[in-house]
């Protein structure tokens, strides 16, 4: 049965043709394979894979940017790249890794896992989900389009953004960055924020409302809990930066004075608004990785997670306190003693729930039968490396010490320990862990371990010396340095480490690509795991569950494995009941999410260069980009309008006793 279902999922013929709806401009797409099926998909698994694929692409691009930075710094007084290009590289390295690599990789796992974890057939709003994906792609294009002007001189974007990933005012004002790169950066981030908010609203509703029978909130897998907390952080934190970006955009294009000192504006307001978003963002990046690790550790310790309620509660507490610590990024701006003390205390307080989680993970390992497969090794690496990042984080929370560390390489070391040693290690563990589920093939153990050790050693060689470089006074974002500063050895060591880390990352993904085609095939549950996604075939069929599961325990699949008769009886009943209601309802694909996103691309791209004339082959064709921006807006509105009239549509799947799946369209 499993194979019949799996075969049906992605390789079967086209769907039954869609019935003509009341409002219809052109026929709904029904292709199941090929380009159209991916562009119009509403399947959370396909959307998750697209997110993952794009994110890994940008992860590699961001990595190349980092290697260029490290090459420039390998010896003193180097002239490998220009100072201007260096500015673009560190800006885009940060922006790419945060918004185009780690966040969308987390979004990929949200998409892939949340519906499976809650026992649902898709997210609550499948077309909205597709819209989030394509809007994210639009944001990625806007951020990176500036690179083109290095290759095609007639495209005058002024290069890639070069204002640093937190774009402090007044550097972003027209006086200091007159070219288009900053406008594209502003709109790119704005569009990415829209994508994240829409996606998060969808996940919140999915997790709260689409839980299978018996799946109480305190039975949710920890990953899904962390996804819920992260989604709330996103919808509440992103508005702050959205407004800040609007204010910069107005300052640059419409003559307002929000951050213009000459007009009464105060640049410090940018810092506050940015970090009101920026600090919760840190937890947006790290909470989902804490979730992956909380799924992986128990599986390979052959024990239930230690202290589940405490881990969940700590995650929620981190989310709450995360909104009250933003000014620890601004200790040197002169907030006043009371504010500084308050933010220092809150920062120390947030270490407590984080530490509690570490102890819970150690408690999970304690007395377990530990199996050191590759995901487990990355997860163990996560605990250790994330703790080191946490220790330097605590050092920053002491405001007087922070005043010394501000803007030095010590800070660089700290946040790479939490973002590579923490978030990335957990993501690499998660990719390895869930790869068999979504591709039906195992990644070879030996090459996985080789890549782990290369990454582990390379990572520490790169970033551990940076602690000392920072304490010896090396400032961040410095293009080059003199040979008599005492920074030569540390930088050489870090750069060689970076190459090793690059080799490790290359090995990791090369092995993944190999496994995609040649990996050993696997069954439903290769790791003998605990959560519901392992109860269905690998790769999962498009409808996920033949019968919506009833959840009896926190480790739902573990319980099913040990109560097979009871579960088989239950499932047969569910299938029968669902068939009597017309079968499994599946949503139809749609063109409108991607059409709307295309409108957004046209609109935002032209809005960014609003006051510039439109040139074509060296001739001016329009005095400004306003007509083109309006065209984009019209496409967006038309897409949304037709989308809203199209209706969810849908068809039904029927599962026969032998596991064969048939489709039908009817009035049921």
């Amino acid at each position: 049965m499993a194979e019949a279902l799996a075969k049906h999922a992605y390789t079967g013929g086209a769907h039954a043709p869609a019935r003509k709806a009341t409002f219809e401009l052109f026929a709904r797409p029904t292709a199941k394979t090929g380009l159209v099926s991916w562009l119009t998909t509403v399947d959370h698994k396909k959307i998750g894979m697209l997110y993952g694929g794009f994110a890994i692409l940008f992860f590699l691009i961001g990595g190349l940017e980092a290697l260029m930075i490290r090459t420039q710094l390998i010896v003193p007084n180097n002239r490998f790249i220009s100072a201007q290009l260096y500015n673009e590289l560190f800006t885009m390295h940060g922006t790419t890794m945060i918004f185009l690599a780690v966040m969308p990789l987390n979004a990929a796992f949200f998409n892939l896992l949340i519906p499976l974890h809650v026992g649902a057939r898709d997210v609550a709003f499948p077309r909205l989900n597709s819209f989030s994906l394509w809007v994210w792609v639009v944001g990625a294009i806007l951020l990176n389009v500036g690179w083109l002007s290095h290759f095609v001189p007639s495209w005058k974007f002024g290069g890639a953004p070069d204002v640093g990933w937190f774009g402090y005012a007044p550097l972003t004002s027209k006086v200091f960055t007159p070219d288009l790169s900053t406008d594209l950066w502003v709109l790119g981030l704005q569009v990415l924020g829209l994508s994240s908010i829409v996606a998060s609203l969808n996940f919140i509703v999915t997790i709260i409302n689409m839980r299978a029978p018996g799946l109480t909130m305190m039975r949710l897998p920890v990953f899904t809990w962390m996804a819920l907390v992260t989604s709330f952080l996103l919808i509440l934190a992103l508005p702050a930066i959205a407004i800040a970006l609007v204010e910069v955009m107005f300052d640059r294009n419409f003559g307002t004075n929000f951050f213009e000192v000459s007009g009464g504006g105060q640049p410090i307001l940018w810092q506050h608004l940015f970090w009101v978003f920026g600090h919760p963002e840190v937890y947006i990046l790290i909470l989902p990785p804490m979730g992956y690790v909380s799924e992986i550790l128990p599986t390979f310790s052959r024990k239930p997670l230690f202290g589940y309620p405490i881990i969940v509660f700590s995650g929620v507490a981190i989310g709450f306190i995360g909104f009250g610590v933003w000014s620890h990024h601004m200790f040197t701006t002169g907030l006043g003693n009371v504010a500084t003390a308050a933010f220092a205390l809150a920062t120390m307080a947030i270490a407590v729930p984080t530490g509690v989680k570490i102890f819970n993970w150690i408690g999970t390992l304690w007395g377990g039968r530990i199996v050191t497969r590759v995901p487990m090794m990355f997860a163990l690496g996560f605990i250790w490396m994330f703790m080191l990042g946490g220790f330097s984080g605590i050092m920053h929370s002491a405001a007087p010490a922070d005043a010394q560390q501000q803007d030095s390489y010590f800070v660089i070391a700290h946040f790479h320990y939490v973002l590579i040693g923490g978030a990335t290690f957990a993501l690499l563990a998660a990719i390895h862990f869930w790869f068999p589920k979504f591709f039906g093939r195992m990644v070879p153990e030996f090459w996985g371990k080789v890549s782990f050790w290369l990454i582990f050693v390379g990572f520490n060689c790169t970033f551990f010396p940076m602690h000392f470089l920072g304490l010896n006074g090396m400032p961040r974002r410095t293009w080059t340095y003199d040979s008599n500063m005492g920074w030569n050895e540390g930088n050489l060591f870090a750069s060689v480490g970076a190459y090793l880390l690059g080799l490790g990352i290359f090995t990791y993904f090369a092995v993944l690509v190999w496994s995609l085609f040649k990996g050993q095939r696997c069954g439903n549950d290769p790791w003998d795991a605990r959560t519901l996604e392992w109860s269905i075939p690998s790769p999962p069929p498009e409808h996920n569950f033949a019968a919506i599961p009833t959840v009896h325990a926190r480790d739902a699949w573990w319980y099913e494995k040990h109560h097979q008769e009871e579960i088989a009886r239950e499932k047969a009943e569910h299938i029968k009941a669902e068939e009597s209601h017309g079968g499994i309802h599946m949503p139809d694909q749609s063109w409108y999410p991607i059409i709307s996103a295309f409108g957004l691309l046209v609109g935002a791209f032209n809005f960014a260069q609003l006051h510039h004339p439109v040139m074509m082959f060296g001739n001016q064709v329009l005095a400004s980009h306003l007509p083109l921006a309006i065209t984009g807006l019209v496409i967006l509105l038309a897409g949304c309008y037709l989308w809203s009239l199209e209706g969810p549509g849908g068809y039904h799947l029927h599962i026969a006793a032998d596991g064969k799946v048939t489709e039908s369209r009817g009035d049921h």
Partner: protein
């Protein structure tokens, strides 16, 4: 959604297909409104920060505001919430005629509020000489109240789409008719809040009505054409698909509408009333 065919009765307060009993759409709107709170929070904070730390030569709000007019349009906006509630109530009872009337009423009250804002902005720029760029108060004031106005305008558009949707035929096509109907709504209400309501306020303040008609002849003609189309298209056209089962859709837009009202109460207090303490 609960199946009305199965039960013959629609429970408007409980959706048995979701884990919490709250319909998905409603939960989505609630979560979005939480997010929207933060958008307005950031804008109101920006305004207050600069209001409390004004640079020399900043505009003096009490010399600029027309508090009587803003109080009036605030009152109208609050009353539109009443009509919105009546629209939700009507559709929950399956009364489509009354739902349509209440939706149009809500939209019209929204347009009176928006018209007041258009008048206010024009007046501030042309008479009081406060622009987006010549003082920080102008920057924060126009951005904050403009964002709110955009919310109201989007609300009117959503209500318009809902209104047009109540005419969706039970079977057959009708996309073109739907589009024309929405176009008529957009033109009528657009002319109402951009030209008609601000013009009437000017007439109240002593401008001449015939002069106004001559001055804006083209938009007014378009508005009247839109109104005629609206009346013609609004006549009953056989069985419609819209009904009591769509109560959740109306209620979801209602949530947004009430939220925009509540935000205005906060803005009106923080931006206008506190200046008169």
């Amino acid at each position: 959604m609960s199946s009305p065919a199965a039960t013959g009765h629609i429970d408007h307060h409980h959706d048995h297909t979701t884990a919490t009993g709250i319909p998905n759409k409603k939960l989505l709107w609630w979560a979005f409104l939480a997010s929207d709170c933060m958008f307005f929070g950031a804008l109101i904070s920006t305004h207050l920060v600069y209001r409390l730390n004004p640079p020399p030569g900043n505009a003096v709000p009490t010399q600029i505001f027309n508090i009587e007019l803003t109080s009036f349009s605030t009152f109208i906006l609050l009353m539109s919430s009443l009509l919105m509630a009546l629209a939700v109530n009507a559709i929950q009872r399956g009364n489509i005629r009354s739902t349509r009337t209440m939706l149009l009423g809500t939209m019209f009250f929204g347009c009176i509020f928006l018209g007041g804002q258009v008048f206010e902005f024009t007046h501030f720029v042309e008479v009081k000489k406060m622009t987006l760029s010549n003082s920080i108060f102008g920057s924060t004031f126009y951005t904050l109240t403009g964002t709110h106005g955009t919310h109201v305008a989007i609300g009117v558009l959503l209500l318009g789409m809902m209104y047009v949707r109540t005419f969706k035929p039970a079977s057959g096509g009708g996309l073109m008719l739907n589009f024309l109907h929405l176009l008529a709504v957009a033109v009528t209400f657009g002319v109402a809040f951009i030209w008609f309501v601000p013009g009437m306020i000017e007439v109240i303040y002593g401008a001449s009505f015939p002069e106004l008609l001559r001055h804006h002849a083209l938009p007014f003609a378009a508005g009247i054409a839109g109104l005629v189309a609206l009346i013609a298209l609004g006549r009953a056209r056989g069985a419609v698909e819209f009904g009591e089962k769509n109560a959740i859709d109306v209620e979801a837009i209602g949530l947004y509408w009430h939220f925009v009202d509540i935000v205005w109460i906060i803005i009106f207090t923080a931006v206008y009333l506190l200046e008169y303490l």
